[in-house]
C-alpha cells in the first residue's frame, strides 16, 4: 500500500518533470522562429496600421495623428487609380501569359523526347537567377539602338520601339521580362501535374473514341486543375511582389506607366519619406495578398489531406 502510493506520487512527479522537459524543448525549438516573427512580422503589421493614421516624414521627432487623412489622400491622388490599374494589368497579363504558355510548354514537353530533361532545366533556370541581374540584361536587350531586339529587327527593316522610354511600350516590356523569368517554373509544375494524371484515364478515353481535343478537355484539364489553381495563386503573389524588375528597368516610369503598388510603397516610404501614406499602400497590398494566401493555404491543406 505504502509502496504503491509512493510509486504513484513519484510517477506523477516524474510525469510533470517530463512534461516540463517537453515544453522547454518545444520552446527552445520553436521559440526563436516565433519570436522573430513577433518582432519582424506581427508587431510591424500593427505598427504599419498605426503609421497609416499618422503624418510623419521618418526624420522629424513629431508624429501627428491625422485619422483617415492618409487614406483620403491616397485614394483621391490623381495617380492612384493609374497605379492600381497598372498593378491589375501587370498581374493579369503576366499571370495569364505564364499560365497559358506554361501549359503549352508543359503539354509538349511531357512526352518521351530526347533532351527533354535538359530543356526543362534550361527553361527553369531564369527562375533562380537574380531579378536585378535579369532586369539589367533586359535593359541592354531592349535598347532601341544596339540591343538584341534591334539586332533582330534591323535586318528586317523594322524599327525597334523605345521599349523603356515610351509609356505605351514600358508595361509590355516589364511583362515580357516577368514572363521570361517565370515561364519555366510554370512549365515544370505543369509537367509534374501531368505526370500525376493516371495513364489509364487516357487509355480509357481513347478506347471510348475520344479525340485529342476531347481527351484534353475531359481528362487533362480536370486532372490539372489543382496544379493550375496553385500556379494562379503563386503567380499572383509573385507578381504583386515584383519590385526588382520595375525599380531597375523603369523606376515606375515613364510618367507612372509601370508604377505598381509595391513600387509606390517603396517610392512613398523611402524616396518621399511619406511614411503615413506608405502605410496605407502597405495595408492595401496586405489585404490583397492576404486573400490570395488564404486561398493558397486551403489548397495546400487539401492536397495534404486527400493526396
Amino acid at each position: 500500500m505504502q509502496l504503491t502510493k509512493h510509486d504513484f506520487s513519484a510517477s506523477i512527479a516524474g510525469r510533470i518533470r517530463r512534461d516540463w522537459r517537453e515544453w522547454l524543448i518545444f520552446l527552445a525549438f520553436a521559440g526563436p522562429n516565433v519570436a522573430l516573427f513577433a518582432i519582424f512580422t506581427y508587431a510591424p503589421m500593427v505598427n504599419n496600421l498605426i503609421l497609416s493614421f499618422n503624418d510623419w516624414n521618418m526624420i522629424s521627432s513629431d508624429k501627428a495623428w491625422v485619422g483617415l487623412q492618409n487614406y483620403i489622400d491616397v485614394f483621391t491622388d490623381s495617380q492612384f487609380s493609374r497605379i492600381f490599374l497598372n498593378t491589375i494589368v501587370f498581374t493579369a497579363a503576366s499571370v495569364t501569359l505564364v499560365l497559358a504558355l506554361g501549359l503549352g510548354g508543359g503539354l509538349l514537353l511531357n512526352q518521351k523526347l530526347r533532351g527533354r530533361n535538359a530543356a526543362r532545366s534550361i527553361l527553369f533556370s531564369p527562375h533562380i537567377l537574380s531579378g536585378a541581374a535579369i532586369a539589367i540584361v533586359w535593359i541592354y536587350i531592349f535598347d532601341p539602338r544596339f540591343g538584341l531586339i534591334y539586332a533582330v529587327l534591323h535586318p528586317l527593316g523594322i524599327q525597334s520601339p523605345n521599349w523603356l522610354t515610351d509609356p505605351n511600350w514600358s508595361m509590355p516590356a516589364i511583362v515580357i521580362v516577368y514572363v521570361w523569368k517565370y515561364l519555366g517554373y510554370a512549365t515544370v509544375i505543369y509537367i509534374a501535374g501531368l505526370q500525376a494524371i493516371p495513364g489509364d484515364l487516357y487509355e480509357a478515353a481513347r478506347v471510348d473514341g475520344a479525340g485529342a481535343w476531347m481527351r484534353f478537355r475531359h481528362v487533362t484539364l480536370p486532372g490539372l486543375s489543382p496544379v493550375m489553381f496553385f500556379l494562379v495563386l503563386t503567380s499572383i503573389l509573385s507578381s504583386f511582389q515584383s519590385f526588382d524588375i520595375i525599380n531597375i528597368m523603369t523606376k515606375g516610369g515613364p510618367i507612372n506607366s509601370t508604377n505598381t503598388l509595391i513600387y509606390h510603397l517603396y517610392e512613398l516610404g523611402f524616396i518621399n519619406f511619406s511614411i503615413g501614406r506608405a502605410g496605407v499602400i502597405g495595408m492595401i497590398l496586405f489585404v490583397l495578398m492576404f486573400v490570395v494566401t488564404l486561398l493558397q493555404l486551403r489548397y495546400l491543406d487539401r492536397q495534404v489531406n486527400y493526396a
Binding site: 520553436a30 536585378a132 541592354y140 534591323h154 471510348d208
Partner: protein, 296 residues
C-alpha cells in the same frame, strides 16, 4: 455485347494503333521537338546576348549594323568591372549574408517543424496558426516598420541588419511540417524509448530521413538570400556593405548606356555562382520543387 465488355475485350486484345493515332503521335513528337528547340532559344538567346556582350568591345557593341559575335575573346570588361566597383567586397558581403540568412532559416525550419510534429506541448496548434499568420504577411508590406526597428537598434548598414528580419521562416516550416507528418511516429518513439533526447532524435533520425526535403528547402533559401534585392537596398547605405545585386544596380546607374560590356561582365559576377549551384543540383532541385507543388 455491351459497351463496357467491348472495351474490356479491346483492352485485352491490344489492337495495333490505328493510322490516325500513329499520325497524331508523330505530330505531337514533331511539336514536342519544336517546343524543346523554342524553349532553348527563348532562354538561350538572351543569355547568349549577355555573355557575348561581356566579351565585346565598345565599338562592337555600339555598331549600327548589329554584330552577333565578338571578334576576339576580350576579357578587359571583366577587369574593368572588377575595378570599377568593389566587387570583392560585394562578394564577401553576399556570401556572409547568404550563409547566415540561409543557415538561420533552415535551422529554424527543421527545429520548428520537428517541435510541431514530435514534441508534446499544450496549444501547439496555436503556434502553428501563428506561423500561418506570418505566411500571410509578405515582407514587402512591412518594410517601413522593419526599417524603423532596425534603425532603432542601430543596425542599419550592418550584416545583422541585413539578415535579422529575414531569418525566420514560415513557408519552409510549413512544408517540412507536412513532410514530417508523413513519417511513421514509431520512428521517433522507438529512439525516444531507447533514451535518445529530442535533439538526438531530430539530428540522427528525422533530419537524415527528410534530407531531400531539407536540402531542397535549404537550396531555395540560399538562392533567395543571394538574389534578395529590396531589403538590402533599403538597409545598406554605404558601398562597402552592399551585396552583389545592389552593387550591380549601382554600377548600372554609373555606367549604363555607356559601358554595356562592363555592366554585362558585372552581371555575370552575380549569376555565375547561382548557375554553378544549379548545374550541380538541378535534377533534384527541379523535381523537389515540382513535387512540393503537386503533393503539397
Amino acid at each position: 455485347m455491351n459497351a463496357l465488355m467491348e472495351r474490356d475485350a479491346q483492352l485485352i486484345a491490344q489492337p495495333a494503333p490505328a493510322p490516325s493515332i500513329r499520325a497524331e503521335a508523330a505530330l505531337s513528337k514533331i511539336l514536342g521537338y519544336s517546343a524543346v528547340i523554342v524553349a532553348v532559344l527563348i532562354i538561350g538567346i538572351p543569355v547568349f546576348w549577355l555573355v557575348t556582350g561581356a566579351l565585346k568591345t565598345n565599338r562592337e557593341i555600339f555598331n549600327a549594323s548589329p554584330q552577333w559575335l565578338p571578334s576576339h575573346l576580350m576579357l578587359d570588361n571583366f577587369a574593368n568591372a572588377w575595378n570599377g566597383a568593389p566587387f570583392g567586397r560585394y562578394y564577401i558581403n553576399s556570401f556572409i549574408t547568404t550563409i547566415l540568412g540561409a543557415a538561420c532559416e533552415i535551422t529554424m525550419a527543421v527545429t520548428t517543424a520537428y517541435a510541431l510534429v514530435f514534441v508534446r506541448f499544450p496549444k501547439r496548434d496555436w503556434v502553428f496558426v501563428l506561423l500561418l499568420l506570418a505566411l500571410m504577411v509578405p515582407e514587402e508590406v512591412v518594410i517601413v516598420p522593419n526599417y524603423l526597428t532596425i534603425a532603432n537598434w542601430r543596425l542599419v548598414n550592418t550584416y545583422a541588419g541585413i539578415v535579422l528580419p529575414g531569418a525566420s521562416i514560415a513557408f519552409g516550416t510549413f512544408l517540412l511540417r507536412q513532410y514530417f507528418r508523413t513519417l511513421p511516429p514509431d520512428l521517433i518513439d522507438a529512439s525516444r524509448v531507447d533514451g535518445a533526447g529530442h535533439v538526438r532524435a531530430m539530428i540522427s533520425i528525422v533530419a537524415p530521413v527528410a534530407a531531400p526535403a531539407v536540402a531542397t528547402a535549404g537550396l531555395l533559401s540560399v538562392v533567395a538570400k543571394w538574389n534578395d534585392y529590396l531589403w538590402p537596398l533599403i538597409v545598406t547605405t554605404t558601398s562597402d556593405m552592399r551585396t552583389l545585386p545592389i552593387g550591380i544596380s549601382w554600377l548600372l546607374d554609373q555606367e549604363g548606356n555607356t559601358e554595356w560590356g562592363v555592366v554585362m561582365a558585372a552581371t555575370l559576377f552575380v549569376v555565375v555562382p547561382v548557375i554553378l549551384v544549379f548545374l550541380y543540383a538541378q535534377r533534384f532541385l527541379v523535381s523537389g520543387i515540382a513535387a512540393g507543388a503537386v503533393k503539397g
